[in-house]
Amino acid sequence: MARITASVYTSHVPAIGAAIDLGKTQEDYWKPLFAGYDFSKQWMKDNKPDVIFLVYNDHATAFSLDLIPTFAIGTAAEYQPADEGWGPRPVPKVIGHPELASHIAQSVIQQDFDLTIVNKMEVDHGLTVPLSLMCGQPEAWPCPVIPFAVNVVQYPVPSGQRCFQLGKAIRKAVESFDQDLNVQIWGTGGMSHQLQGARAGLINREWDNAWLDQLINDPEAAAATPHIDYVREAGSEGIELVMWLIARGAMADVAGGPAPKLAHRFYHVPASNTAVGHVILENS
């Protein structure tokens, strides 16, 4: 059967993608950030998955205001990197896993989560920046990716609790797939940042790190964080952190298994407007 072997959490700031694409990773501004991912790139080589289930949000790219799905699963064979206004990122196209994705869609909908199924879409920095951070600049991404887009652009976004429960359902879905596949689940976005208004630039290092402690050690408590706490403490765009709870909810300990191993933890301010957080948890 397929199983979830690890979860990866990382911010997905567009400027990080630009820094990689323009060869700026060794500049003074960016060097400390990318140093935090040296471990992760080696870890990816040592722990190459068969499939990545990548939870991210679309930033007014594939979904305009014409259509705003709360949870959307990509079941396509491939996805092209989008032109977000600065031209498409020069990164490989993303190969999907339609068979597993369709299986997960069916199972998760039968577990009462109403997913939108997407057979055609482009993917933006929310999906490609985490791949670049974890894999560097390969000719092709190391494995197929199932994009899972969450609406965190228009309020109300799904609650942390709902996301956490969805993670549990995804775990069950993966484990009911007959092929032996090593699946990683990634949760992306955050951490504290606000991109708008007089309060733009808000960063909350203490709150971010306390939330990371909870995410790792007491995910039920992290999942109970109400929306307004993210807005007040981590900025209006800090709400993206609910996506991390989908990945966390899919880990073994949540279903009564052993606690995960903390393989890596990193935190850095700033990347453009944003606090960058990064965690890798392994199932035993």
Binding site: S64, L65, Q194, Q196, A200, S272, N273
Partner: protein, 153 residues
């Protein structure tokens, strides 16, 4: 029955909820159109004519022409959509976010390098943090220019 909107008392922040989204539909869809290179060219060639092709309010058009992102947001714009205007102008996300604070680009960049804006005093309206209405605009971008004394910069 009233909707639950506990985020109305956060200073310097407009939450893009269903109500804002309804107000800003055409403004945001106009922004979306700028993802095509051909449309970016047409917009740059004659901004007013291009805006007039959209069912936006006159105020929304004025806010876009003024590149006043706070004004755009008040009329229903969302930052991820408005970012397409910034991209058309060759601006980074940091330049766009900074422009909403009244700080110069350098002031904003330095604030971020020092760890960003503190949440202290900026959680609720009525406190005394730097994002509160009584402390706007922040920074020097609105100070009179030397070349044109008395005019807004």
């Amino acid at each position: 029955m009233a909707l639950d909107k506990p985020y109305k008392d956060v200073p310097g922040t407009i939450i893009f909820d269903a109500e804002q989204s309804r107000k800003g539909y055409w403004l945001n869809q106009f922004c979306m159109s700028l993802m095509k290179a051909e449309n970016r060219e047409r917009f740059k060639a004659d901004e007013r004519a291009y805006l007039d092709e959209w069912a936006m309010t006159e105020e929304q058009k004025q806010a876009v022409l003024a590149r006043d992102l706070n004004w755009c947001m008040r009329t229903g714009g969302n930052i991820y959509f408005l970012a397409k205007i910034g991209a058309t102008d060759g601006k980074s996300f940091q330049q766009m976010a900074g422009s909403m604070t009244g700080m110069t680009e350098e002031e904003y960049r330095n604030m971020m390098l020092k760890g960003g804006r503190s949440a202290e005093g900026n959680r609720y309206l009525g406190e005394d943090g730097d994002a509160q209405p009584q402390h706007q605009p922040q920074g020097k971008s609105h100070e009179p220019q030397q070349a044109a004394p008395g005019k807004k910069g």
